[in-house]
Each structure stands twice: as C-alpha cells, then as structure tokens.
Amino acid sequence: MSDKPLISTRDLSVHFPLRGGGLFGPKPVVRAVEGVNIDIPKGHFFGIVGESGSGKTTLGRALLRAAPITRGDVDYDDGEVQYDLPNINDKELKDYRTRAQLIFQDPYAALSPRMTVRDIIAEPLEVMGLTKSKQETDERVREIAAKCRLNLEHLRRFPHAFSGGQRQRISIARALVSRPRFVVADESVAALDVSIQADVLNLLKEIQHEMGLTFMFISHDLSVVAHVCDHVAVMYLGRLVESAPTRELFAAPRHPYTKALLSAIPSLDPDDRGKAEKLEGEIPSPTNPPPGCKFQTRCRFAQDHCRKVEPKLEQSGSEHAVACHRWQELMESQALETT
C-alpha cells in the first residue's frame, strides 16, 4: 500500500439549484455538501455517518461522479491511473466507472424486475465491454456470484424470487463484477433484517480483504459503522464535523453532535432507560442553514461566538479532526466532572 490516498477531496461542495424562487435575484440553492476535505486511504473501510439531510449520500454520489461537483478538487489515484474527477473527460469517465461502483440501499429498487439475475450481474460487463465473449461473461458472473455466496442455479431466476438479503448479495455481485477498486456502499444494510444484516456486513468485509477494495460505507447506524469501519467521518448539514479512527471516535468523541448521536442509540439494557443525553429539535433545512456553526441551534454548549463564526475542521490529533470552537474546553470540563 502506498501512502497516497485513493480518494482525496479538497473543499468539495455540491449545490443543487432549487426550482422557483424569485424572478429576480439569486436562485435558492441547497448546499448538500459544503467544503468537505477527506482522504480515503487505499484498502480502508471508510465510514460516513449522519442523519437524513446530512449530505452523506450526495457526497458518495459526487465521488462517483453521479452528482455534479460545484466546487473543489477530487483526486483519484489507484496506482495505475490518476483522475482529476471534476475535470474528467468522457473516455476517462468510462474507465473510472469500471473502477468505482455503488451498492444501493434498497435491494428491491436497485434490481430491474425484468432481467434475470444473470443478466443483472452481467450488465456492467456488457455495457463496459470488459469481456469478449458470452462464455467469458458467464465465467465472470459465476465467479463473482460464488464469491457473494449466491446459488449458481438461481442465476436463471428473476429478482422477485429472492428475499432482501439475497437481493442485496445480488446487488453486491453486480457492483463488484467489473473488479472495481473503490466501492461506495450507501446504507447498504439499512433495509435488511437484523439477522441478515450481520451476514451482509461480514460478506463485505470478507470481499474487501479478498479483493483489496477500498470502501466508503455510508450509514446512519453508528453501531454498524463501529463494527466494520476503520475510520469514521461524521457529517451534519453538509459539513464534516468530526473525523477519526473508529476506536478513537467511539471511545472519546469530541464534537457535541457526535456525543449526542452516540447517546441516542437505544441501549439493549432495560435498566439504562432515560440516561441518554437528549438532543432537542431537528436538523435545519439545508436551503436555509443557520449562521455560524451549523449545529448551534441544537447544541447545549452554543455561545455567541458559535452563532456567528463557523468553526473549521481542525486537526486535533494525528488522525483526529473536529470542527467545534469549544471542544477542548468541553473535554476538560468533562474530565473534571468525572474525576
């Protein structure tokens, strides 16, 4: 593994224009992703966590060039090729598509109901022209299907014959058939039952090791992220608020939002009721974000300074970064409280 990250973004922003607005003056925009800097090292399982509306899905799509990049740099470098994603040309984009793939959330919507499983998995190969003959295509399909623990006899079936877990394995096989280097998994286990979810997560991990993949794992579920990811970035309202190696983040979260998220996970211990630190209110609309720190409307520790100046994501350890004006102060007072 070289030291250069596979994906590296600087000041990445994605804005969507909204319909309507006044006839004059600027059109309203949704700032779905704003000024995000991340480095995803090769072979990492990189987690992105956030609630709905945090921009995590848009970030993932932007890295795949499925959402328009409004501003900023995104570099892709897998050792073989290097792409400057915002300025990629059509030929390069075609090649990039074989190297970067997406696994969807909903295993029901992501599979065309009118194609057999074999055709679904083979489609990327055929579209990209990666195989020369039908035999070769079939071979690749069977190989990846076996890897994803699909019954090869089921390849003739249509998706309606499968349960959620099996469908998700089909969609994983489809994403991996072109042998990509970088895979974005967008809430890929959120729609699955608990007993199946662990199985799919293990499969993803296994495949990652086997194929040397780099994953960007997007989820709202902190406990899932904690288990599979090496590094986690927390997003709120389009901004990165905290980014740290998983263990560090879960052991000592620094941003008040990360803390609140962690404590909001319902505990399995019935005697633990009501101990959680509750967050008031809801996530503001990305069309009309509050001034200053985006989290100030719900933050217990917000001060005047927080309401005026937006904190920058600053390195607070070798790999730990946090965007909060008061994190040090808060950590100290917390340490005092506990002692």
Binding site: F104, H154, R156
Partner: protein, 380 residues
C-alpha cells in the same frame, strides 16, 4: 393446520422454480388467466376479430349494392330449419318469400312466405367474387340452392344485413387499429421525448399536448368532415377518419407514457445502469421500454373501444363513413328512423355485435390492467 402447511411447503418444486424463473410477462399472463370475465372477453374478441377478417368468406354476399337482393327489400331474417309440418330434412332449409303490392295490400309491399317451396342450404357454394388477403375467391361458407338467404334479414336496398354486419366489424376494427397506431406512435415519440429529457422540452411538449386536449372533439369532427371533398372515394374517407381519430387520441396516451417514464427514469436500477456507463440508448432499450410495454399494451387495448366508439359516433351523426361503406357506425345510423323501430327490428342485430365488441375490449383491457398492475391488487 400444520398438515396443510407441511403439504404447502412440500408442494411441487418444479412449479415453484417455474414461478421463480417466470418473467414479468409470464406473471401477468398467470394473473390474467385467473380472471373469468377477461378470459371470456378474449375468446369473444378472438371470434369477432376472426369473423371480421374472414367476413368475405363467412358471409354469403357482397355487402354493397352489387350483392343486393332486389326481390327481398326490408326483408325479415330467415331462420334455417330442419323440420316443419311438411317433414324432416337433414339439410337445413328456408322458405321462398314472395312480395306483392296491390290494391288488396293497400299498395304496400307485403311479403308472404311459401312454406311449400323450400330452399335448401348449401355449403361452400360459388357466389360473389371477393378478395381475401390478396387471394381472390368466390366460395362462401354457406348459401342456398335457389335465390338468396338472409339470416339477419335485409335493409331497404335489399342488402344482406348478415353480410354487412361482418364486413362492418372488419371496417370498424381497421379504423380503430389505424387510429390507435397513429395515436400510439405519436404518444410514444412525444411522451417519450418529454419524459426522458424533461426540463424545458417537457414543458413545451406538455403545453402542446394540453392544447390538443382542449380541442372539443365534435366541432372539430364537424369542421373536418365539411372539409372532406364529396368526390373522395369511400377508401380515402375511411383513411382520413382513421387519421383524425389517431390525431385526436394521442394526448392521453402521451401523458401516460411521459408520467411512466418520469417515474421509471428515477428508479435506482436505472441509476445503477448509468453508473456502469450505459448510454441513453442502452437504458431506453434495456430498461425503460421493457418497463412499460405491459402498460402500453393495456393502454392500447383500453383505448381501442374508444376509437371504435368515436368512429361509430362520427358515422352515426353522419360525419364519418357513408352508407356504401359498411361500418358499425353506419349500421347504427340506419336504426334511427321510427319506421325501423316499428317495422324492421332486425336492423338492431348489428347493434348487439357492436355492444359485444366494445364490452369484450373493455373486459380484456380491465383484466390486463389488473394483471399488469400489482398495486391495484386488493390481495396484497
């Protein structure tokens, strides 16, 4: 309880595999087959379409003035019999009618039937020449050895209503088919462009669609029919009417195509294909078109009776096809007079065919829609 579940669980594996490997089309067909009304509709429809197509052979006479029976005008239907008071016959027969007008009948034509003069039915006799699919022939399914047979009676000109009805089904179906196909192609192109590209193209095309939809149909028909030159042949008129119907019929279908494309375009599996680098043409061919063929077929079947109805309505108010041409509308038009109502009720026989045809289409269309649309299913 547990026994039945066990049996269910062990049900034939082959059948289950067939269900799992069944495509959308097969699933729709399986659901469709369970609907009795629709299946009856299909059978009736097939019979009617075939009888329309083979009308020249199935019917004994040319439905135009060339095939008229000058000796039997406004004649009552003749029902073939196998026996009467004069004895039994293995071959069905009818009686010879004779018409008379004299002082005794108050100078009106009165038809009397001579029960002693039997006319025996013949099968595959030679008769009027016709062309069927380019092959000319003169054999008909049935006839009588002497004179003519009129199962549904004759009209004022002496034309055989039986022959006219079957030819009319043919004409009406043809008008409907041409109309539906014109409407369909316009809808597919306009709705398709509108739905796939969206944006301002969509807005403009939708404005045009709405404009066409707001044109009231009847005044337009009246204007257009006034525009048809009198010297146009029946065939030209026929084509013109079909085209008008097509040009009026497309907006509804176009809207459906567009709506469907708009929803289907945002499906995740389309995005999945785009992320593989699939071109728009691949996406349209492999994903979008297959996704709505079933809807399109349903829509076509459902819009068909409206085409037939419109043609009928047009002809009925005298703006569409005119008498020498046989269409169900023309046939319907001739039942409007009080004279028919009082004295010649057999003119109504084509109406029964008309109603059957439209109902069959509606049943089949409804059945198809229920089968193709899993969300309309109450059993879920």
């Amino acid at each position: 309880m547990t026994d039945t579940t066990a049996i269910n669980a062990n049900a034939d594996q082959g059948l289950k595999e067939a269900y799992f490997t069944a495509g959308q089309g097969q699933l729709i067909w399986t659901r469709f087959k369970k609907q009795k009304a629709a299946m009856v509709g299909v059978m009736v429809l097939v019979v009617l379409i075939l009888s329309g197509l083979f009308a020249p052979f199935l019917t004994p006479y040319t439905p135009t003035i060339a095939g008229r029976d000058s000796g039997y005008q406004n004649g009552a239907p003749q029902i073939p019999k196998f026996w009467d008071e004069n004895g039994f016959s293995a071959r069905p027969f009818i009686y010879t009618p004779s018409r008379e007008r004299s002082a005794a009948t108050n100078f009106r034509w009165v038809t009397t039937v001579d029960r002693d003069a039997r006319r025996y039915m013949t099968f595959f006799p030679k008769g009027d020449k016709y062309k069927l699919f380019g092959i000319s022939g003169s054999r008909h399914l049935f006839g009588v050895d002497e004179g003519k047979i009129h199962l549904f009676g004759t009209d004022g000109g002496g034309k055989d209503i039986f022959s006219r009805t079957f030819h009319a089904i043919n004409t009406s179906l043809a008008v409907g088919t041409i109309g539906v196909f014109i409407a369909f192609f316009m809808a597919l192109i306009i709705g398709g462009i509108s739905g796939y590209y969206g944006g301002w193209i969509d807005s403009i095309l939708q404005m045009i669609t709405d404009a066409v939809r707001t044109i009231p149909a009847i005044p337009l028909f009246m204007a257009l029919s006034a525009f048809i030159p009198i010297e146009w042949s029946a065939e030209a008129r026929f084509l013109f009417i079909s085209m008008i119907l097509g040009f009026i019929g497309w907006p509804t279908l176009a809207r459906r195509v567009r709506t469907h494309l708009l929803t289907e375009r945002n499906q995740e599996y389309v995005l999945a294909a785009q992320l593989c680098g699939a071109s728009p043409s691949h996406i349209i061919r492999k994903h979008l078109l297959p996704s709505f063929t079933s809807y399109i077929i349903v829509d076509l079947v459902i819009s068909f009776p409206y085409m037939v109805l419109s043609e009928t309505a047009l002809s009925f108010i005298g703006l569409g096809l005119k008498d020498p041409v046989n269409s169900l509308g023309v046939m319907l038009q001739s039942v409007t007079s009080a004279d028919v109502l009082l004295n010649y009720q057999w003119y109504f026989i084509p109406v029964i065919f008309f109603i059957t045809l439209v109902l069959a289409f509606v049943f089949v269309g409804d059945g198809l829609r229920d089968a193709a649309d899993p969300y309309g299913d109450t059993k879920k």
